[in-house]
């Protein structure tokens, strides 16, 4: 049976999901973009992974349009005038979203919704504004049916952000993903507490370290997809990843790995990225003719290549001969120190590489702690996370995160699962988040163990939707399938519960 027939006959795929699957299959019929034999060998053994990005990239992986420009100038191609009121504003956005490409085919960045909509919201009666925003969120959930669709709020409080939080809690939807940019001087405790309450009820928003991102990107940054730091009016060209555990399998010792194997694989991934970035910019039509580019909603110079890694924990444990994860990376100072050495080495080598078309970023790619995919199983934990099942007490886990999060301007994060009593004490969660962000944590996510909407590795799914797939029914959200795979293979939802002990 052909792959195409498999897709066409799969009872759990919606029409849209079949279309995306078939398109991916079609793209893979052309292999004219070639890499070195050493790259293919590394890919075949699982040391490097292209995240099924497709062999012929026809758009950048992540695109973060400048929605402020859209609201200022409108869009010629889509025949949209600048909106004059709230109804026009959400209508303009709803239309525009459908034309923003990405690796998922859905827009991974919806904009800073509070800032975009606040001027319109405050002109309306609050109840009316809330009704319009409710329909807006419903439209996003039913049309942009993918959990990597992401909106940002904060750092300042606003009427719009408050309404969005209320609706998020009331509607219990997996889409869109939501981030609060948290800044201790700009974000009030009252607003942050409202976000914590919402997070404990709906697994969102997550908390991004605004100061850290601003330091690295300036204040025109977006949090997109899972937790990816990118430029507004730009995005990410490509995101391949080193699977560090597999990269370490041939190393005879930690020193051998650092001296020989690690640089080899870093260079192969850089070669892969260089070729792809050049192809997207020079060969594909996106940067020549797409209206997003020609009308200035994105600029080539605001795009960056994302250098991904996964499985640092398993890599360190393997190199040190540690078989019990509870005595390994994150819990064993020697293994954690080795992790720092490995990340230092990766950061240094990547920063020495001159990357094409990254001129706005000193001609360098930036690191990304990739969040894992459903087929990783237990071989490679997401990014630099401590393996599920081995998580130490929350304080210890945060301290490990604080050491590793600064390496990743294009995104990393960790997730904490809370038991029921925390719903009544959001004021106990906030100091934990604030404390950790002040000490170098980049991105904090939390959810309640008994909630239907839960965070899998970086994205949200509904447990009830996973159940639908198990019963061979279709799930409108194309990410539910990944959630089921991550749970079955990687026990992603079995992370330690933060309880009183």
């Amino acid at each position: 049976m052909s792959d195409a027939l498999n897709i066409i006959q799969d009872p759990t795929l919606t029409y849209r999901q079949e279309l995306v699957g078939l398109a991916r299959l079609g793209e893979s019929t052309d292999d004219s973009l070639r890499y070195s034999d050493a790259y293919y060998a590394a890919k075949a053994r699982g040391a490097l992974c292209d995240l099924n990005e497709g062999v012929m990239p026809f758009r950048p992986r992540y695109i973060c349009p400048d929605y402020e420009l859209l609201f200022r100038k409108g869009c010629d191609f889509l025949q949209l005038d600048p909106p004059k009121d709230l109804l026009e504003a959400v209508n303009v956005l709803e239309i525009f979203y459908c034309h923003v490409p990405s690796i998922t085919t859905y827009p991974v960045y919806l904009g800073d919704l509070d800032k975009l909509l606040e001027p319109f919201v405050i002109k309306e009666d609050r109840e009316y504004a809330k009704k319009v925003l409710r329909l807006f969120l419903r439209n996003i959930d039913r049309v942009q049916t993918d959990s990597f669709v992401h909106a940002d709020i904060g750092p300042e409080d606003s009427v719009t952000a408050r309404i969005l939080l209320e609706l998020t809690e009331e509607m219990q939807l997996a889409v869109p993903n939501l981030t609060l940019r948290y800044d201790p001087e700009k974000t009030s405790d009252d607003f942050a507490l409202a976000c914590v309450r919402c997070m404990l009820k709906t697994a969102k928003p997550s908390f991004a370290n605004h100061r850290m991102f601003v330091r690295e990107w300036g204040d025109r940054y977006a949090i997109a997809s899972c937790y990816n730091g990118l430029m507004i009016g730009g995005g990410g060209y490509t995101l391949p990843r080193m699977r560090l555990y597999e990269c370490a399998l041939d190393a005879k010792s930690p020193e051998d790995f650092l001296d020989r194997e690690l640089p080899k694989y870093i260079d192969l991934q850089l070669e892969y990225m260089d070729k792809r970035v050049k192809f997207i910019v020079e060969e594909s039509s996106f940067f020549k003719t797409n209206f997003l580019v020609t009308e200035g909603f994105v600029k080539r110079e605001n795009f960056i290549g994302m250098f991904g890694v996964v499985g640092l924990a398993e890599c360190c444990n393997h190199l040190l001969g540690i078989t019990d994860v509870k005595k390994g990376f994150g819990l064993n100072p020697e293994a954690t120190r080795l992790g720092r050495r490995i990340m230092d080495a990766i950061e240094k080598r990547v920063s020495e590489h001159v990357a094409p078309y990254c001129d706005a970023f000193d001609h360098h790619y930036r690191l990304h702690a990739q969040v894992g995919i459903d087929t990783d199983g237990m071989d490679d934990s997401p990014g630099t996370r401590i393996p599920i099942g081995a998580e130490p007490a929350m304080l210890d886990q945060l301290e490990v995160n604080e050491q590793f999060h600064p390496y990743f301007p294009t995104g990393t994060g960790d997730i904490f699962k809370f038991e029921e009593t925390w719903v009544k004490t959001p004021e106990a969660v906030l100091p934990i988040i604030k404390g950790s962000l002040s000490r170098g944590l980049r991105y904090f996510s939390g959810y309640l163990e008994n909630n239907d909407v839960v965070r899998v590795t970086g994205y949200l799914v509904k447990k009830s939707e996973i159940e639908k797939l198990r019963q061979k029914k279709q799930s409108l959200n194309q990410v539910t399938l990944y959630g089921m795979g991550a749970q079955d293979g990687g026990h992603a939802l079995d992370r330690r519960v933060q309880a009183y002990e």
């Binding site: 007490a393 304080l395 301290e399 106990a428 906030l430 934990i432 002040s438 000490r439 009183y500 002990e501």
Partner: protein, 280 residues
């Protein structure tokens, strides 16, 4: 050097006062509450050795000097020693100086609003607490006492001024019921309630509601609520037999207090003036 017996330290707690707090549990208590949920904190170890043979990982040993010693590194926290102890004690305590406690809680400080000392009854060690609180205040964090009310705070003004508030259990008002329930007539608790209110140091009051004890519950709640008014939260707690020693379950029953029954006492408390009364 001022030392106190510490049963355990919990870095993050969301149930021992407002915000996220580090909770420090001290060993020893002068009351004998029938419904004590951590009876292993009541007495100090008498080094009888009864717990030693049952330890599955040999984390306990009795040395030639007769002392039972505990190896925290080998311990797997299975609690076999606590079950074996005939004295409501624990071999797993550490006699710590204030410096040692500070060293251990230092890592938590960026993530917490403050510390709460509990037990057992932490007020058995007023000088230790005064010193600890003074040092924690220097780090900009708050200090709360979770106490049983046995200590006469009037005799310890330095402790009271060093702490930010006291969370008090008022378990029984009627002396006879109190004697039955906690092995003490409760006079000192009611005096503490009065004095802490006067001093403005009462952070919260809690009362456990027992199934079927209509008269006793009502008397305790009415008395307490009338006194605290709106000055601090009044938490009404449902009795839960889980964790209570079997011999005392016979006295208090095996039933958990019904939620609606507990709610009726929260209403009673509010009617009696405690506007911030609620069931937890």
């Amino acid at each position: 050097m001022n030392k106190a017996p510490v049963n355990k330290i919990i870095p993050f707690s969301n149930v021992d006062g407002p915000g996220n707090r580090t909770s420090i549990f001290f060993q020893g208590c002068s009351f004998r509450c029938q419904f004590c949920h951590n009876p292993e904190t009541i007495r100090l170890c008498v080094h009888c050795g009864a717990c030693v043979p049952g330890c599955p990982v040999h984390a306990l040993r009795q040395d030639a000097d007769g002392q039972v010693r505990w190896d925290p590194k080998a311990c797997v926290q299975c609690d076999a020693c606590l079950k074996a102890c005939p004295h409501s004690a624990s071999p797993r305590i550490r006699w710590m100086t204030v410096e040692e406690v500070l060293l251990e809680i230092r890592r938590s400080l960026p993530y917490i609003e403050g510390i709460t000392t509990s037990g057992g009854d932490c007020t058995l060690y007023p000088a230790f607490l005064t010193e600890l609180f003074t040092r924690v205040h220097e780090a900009g964090k708050t200090c709360l006492i979770d106490g049983n009310g046995a200590l006469d705070f009037r005799s310890h003004p330095q402790l009271l001024s060093a702490c930010d508030g006291v969370m008090l259990d008022v378990k029984a008002v009627d002396p006879a019921w109190s004697m039955q329930l906690i092995g003490n007539d409760g006079t000192s608790v009611l005096q503490s309630l009065k004095y802490l209110l006067q001093a403005g140091k009462l952070a919260e009051v809690r009362t456990v509601i027992f199934p079927g004890r209509d008269r006793e519950n009502a008397e305790t709640v009415r008395y307490t609520a009338a006194r605290i008014g709106d000055r601090c939260p009044y938490k009404i707690i449902r009795y839960r037999p889980f964790g209570v020693r079997e011999e005392f379950q016979a006295f208090l029953g095996e039933d958990t207090t019904d939620a609606a029954y507990a709610e009726s006492y929260a209403r009673l408390a509010r009617d009696a003036g405690a506007s911030k009364a609620y069931v937890i």
